[in-house]
């Protein structure tokens, strides 16, 4: 316990001493067919990379050498070389890839193929498709349990979170959640799986052992009609105490006490807030605002929006890592 405090204390001190901007963010712009590169030191776009059609899911590879971006209308995943900041290669994702996730080692990529009711499994290094799993209608959200044993896929029209055994590549449990589940996120200790239901307007908290919904987070914004509250992106800080949930056309990010599952605050951001990512030091949370074509920067400690950065049209996904 003491050692843990000391280590995190040093980490906080170190992070405080370094300039905030040793990080770089990549934002997929669904309509522009581009990726905006943001320097978090300057809080400015430093480059715009042309990619394929309809870029959505976006993530750094674990080694930081590539940014993977799913270009759904081109039925592939492009690999942006982070050194040259250009598209260098592609992965055989299957039709209409939207969201994906890597295993812990960064060797295997699991891709949700919306048009195909499948999750495709790809060996990243070999750039080869090595298998697939049949899931529900319109697979979308993807998560991996921290111990790596279970892959979670949410299917938007089936309204389920599928638990897939990563070794056997088979579904072992299905949990029914509210309408149109979009995104899944584990607490870092693996104790809870959170699934957002865009149309249902709730976030289900699932016990990953018993595969039951233990509670549901609901949202109530005075003066806002219920139908406009559409939870999508979820980020939970490493210590598991605070979570952030993007509420789509409600134009707000909900701050949630991750222990009690109560909303403590709503932060006004841009229009149709969609996905989000922390800077690696978790001091800042960047959220994409699809309709206002910008990214809001949230100060995680102060719980305040400190900056808005204009990006391309319909920003969708975001990934952040250390500058190489």
């Amino acid at each position: 316990m003491w050692r843990h405090c000391l280590v995190s204390g040093i980490a906080v001190w170190l992070a405080g001493a370094l300039p905030a901007g040793a990080f770089i963010a990549y934002v997929s712009n669904e309509k522009s067919n581009t990726v905006s590169v943001i320097d978090t030191d300057k809080w400015a776009v430093i480059k715009t990379i042309k990619v394929g059609q309809r870029p959505r899911g976006i993530e750094f590879t674990k080694d930081g050498k590539f940014v993977l971006v799913a270009v759904g209308d081109d039925d592939t995943i492009q690999m942006i070389d982070t050194a040259t900041q250009q598209v260098a290669d592609t992965l055989p994702s299957g039709p209409d890839p939207e969201l994906f996730i890597q295993d812990k080692a960064g060797k295997i990529l699991y891709v949700a193929n919306e048009n195909d009711n499948t999750v495709t499994i790809i060996d990243i290094e070999r750039r080869a498709r090595v298998g697939d799993v049949q899931v529900g209608v319109e697979p979308e959200g993807m998560a991996i349990s921290p111990d790596g044993r279970f892959l979670i896929n949410t299917s938007e029209t089936t309204n389920m979170a599928h638990f897939i055994d990563t070794a056997a590549r088979q579904i072992v449990a299905n949990v029914l959640v509210d309408a149109r589940p979009r995104f899944a996120e584990f607490k870092r200790d693996g104790s809870e799986l959170w699934v957002s239901s865009e149309i249902g307007g709730t976030v289900a908290i699932i016990d990953p052992v018993t595969h039951t919904v233990t509670t549901k987070i609901t949202f109530n914004i005075p003066g806002m009609r219920k139908e406009a509250i559409q939870p999508v992106g979820i980020s939970i800080v490493a210590d598991g105490k605070t979570a952030f949930i993007a509420l789509g056309p409600a134009n707000r990010v909900a701050v949630v006490d991750a222990a009690s599952h109560q909303v403590t605050k709503y932060l006004l951001v841009g229009q149709r807030v969609w996905h989000m990512a922390f800077t690696p030091d978790e001091k800042f949370l960047l959220v994409t605002n699809g309709v206002s074509n910008d990214v809001s920067v949230i100060d995680v400690a102060a719980l305040k929006v400190i900056k808005t950065i204009q990006v391309g049209e319909l920003p969708w996904g975001i990934t952040i890592a250390k500058q190489q």
Binding site: E138, E156, T157, N174, V177, A179, A204, E227, Q230
Partner: protein, 395 residues
């Protein structure tokens, strides 16, 4: 092949599955279709032979993809009337085969006959094809759930946009058939509700004759400008022509250069092949893959009906008609149908609340309700007859 079948445990409004190997629960859905297909002025808009039922078939596939995780299996029992067939008897035949849910694409009177014929057997109809307001008002039934929008919802959806656009002076041209007059009535009501003014109203008499002739265009080009001349100052021509007699001849042929809306030009609909927002591309692709054609409003209404049944059956994890229908009619039911928000039922008349698309045949121009049209329950209730005005008495 190993088939994994799953049993179900209920936990806090969520269902969790564990392995079990039994035969799936069978849930039959009937599809009762009217005889014949209405001819349209435009060849492009001529409905396909499987209009409507094609949407239900896609939904059955979707339900079964979900059903394999819940040990439920859905089938579609199609029944098509011929001219002179009795809808009541056809509905009873489906009920005899233990069908509890029937999707109906029937004219209003046939729909009522069919509903009344199976009411005592606990069979419910899902109205996918009749837009008549009276079916949800004075002629409402406890065993009819309405998935198709009403004429008043369609008219309100259009009127809100025209008012937002500041096109408030309408010239209304009405066909000479009953359904044209009903649509005109709905448009007049919308104009009053939202502050538009009908500056002139004309009737276009259907004098008979063929819809397609070899030299038709020349004649129409002379006829339409003359018909619309000497009008008072107006912003937009609104046509009520459900019978497909004249409205599609109006765009680009009015005496004054004015846009056209209603039954041609800017048309209010529940769905359109051009709808691509809110994940709709997936729906459009799935439909196209199975049917090799684009998805119409009737296809979508039938899809939604079959999905509502599948959704309710999955939530209650049952095929029991009463359990499924009680959930459908209850406060916790909602359905996602690629309209950007959840769709729910109006408890007072079992009408599905839904946004209305405004389409021009190539693109979705706008989606109503428009910004600023507010309501204390749901903004979707700014479309159509609202609870305080309803004439429906459920019993």
């Amino acid at each position: 092949m190993i088939r994994l079948l799953f049993g179900v445990v209920v936990g806090l409004s969520a269902l969790v599955t564990t392995a079990r190997a039994t035969d799936p629960v069978e849930i039959g859905i009937g599809y009762l279709r009217r005889a014949g297909i209405k001819p349209t002025l435009s060849m492009v808009e001529q409905p396909a032979e499987n209009d409507g039922v094609a949407g239900a078939r896609v939904a059955i596939e979707d339900n079964n993809t979900t059903g394999k995780f819940l040990n439920q299996h859905f089938t579609l029992e199609e029944s098509r009337l011929k001219d002179g067939d009795d809808a009541a008897r056809a509905a009873a035949t489906l009920a005899d085969r233990n069908i509890a849910f029937i999707i109906a694409d029937l004219p209003a009177d046939s729909l009522l006959k069919a509903a009344d014929a199976v009411r005592d057997r606990g069979t419910a109809l899902f109205n996918a094809g009749a837009i008549d307001d009276r079916l949800r008002e004075e002629d409402c039934r406890t065993n009819v759930i309405h998935v198709a929008p009403t004429r008043s919802m369609l008219a309100d959806g259009l009127a809100q946009y025209l008012v937002w656009k500041q096109w408030k002076r309408w010239m209304l041209v009405v066909g000479s058939h009953d359904e044209d007059r009903l649509f005109a009535e709905a448009l007049r009501r919308s104009a009053t509700r939202f502050g538009a003014k009908i500056v002139q109203e004309k009737v276009f008499e259907d004098t008979g004759g063929a819809r397609r002739t070899d030299s038709g265009v020349t004649l129409i080009q002379r006829q339409m400008p003359v018909f619309t001349q000497q009008a008072p100052v107006y912003d937009i021509l609104v046509a009520a022509d459900e019978s497909e007699v004249f409205a599609s001849y109006l765009p680009y042929r009015t005496w004054d250069p004015r846009p056209v809306a209603g039954s041609a030009g800017l048309v209010p609909k529940s769905w359109d092949p051009a709808q691509d927002q809110w994940g709709a591309v997936q729906m459009q692709n799935r439909f196209f893959k199975l049917n090799s054609r684009r998805m119409t409003a009737l296809d979508m209404q039938a899809w939604t009906a079959a999905r509502m049944i599948g959704e309710a059956a999955s939530r209650v994890n049952s095929s029991d008609r009463k359990t499924v229908l009680d959930f459908l009619k209850g406060p916790d039911f909602s359905i996602a149908a690629f309209k950007g928000q959840r769709l729910t039922l109006r408890a007072w008349n079992l009408q599905l609340r839904q946004p209305i698309l405004l389409v021009d045949g190539r693109m979705v121009v706008s989606v109503s309700p428009q910004e600023g049209f507010l309501h204390h329950v749901s903004e979707l209730d700014t479309l159509g007859v609202d609870q305080p005005e309803t004439k429906c008495k459920m019993h």
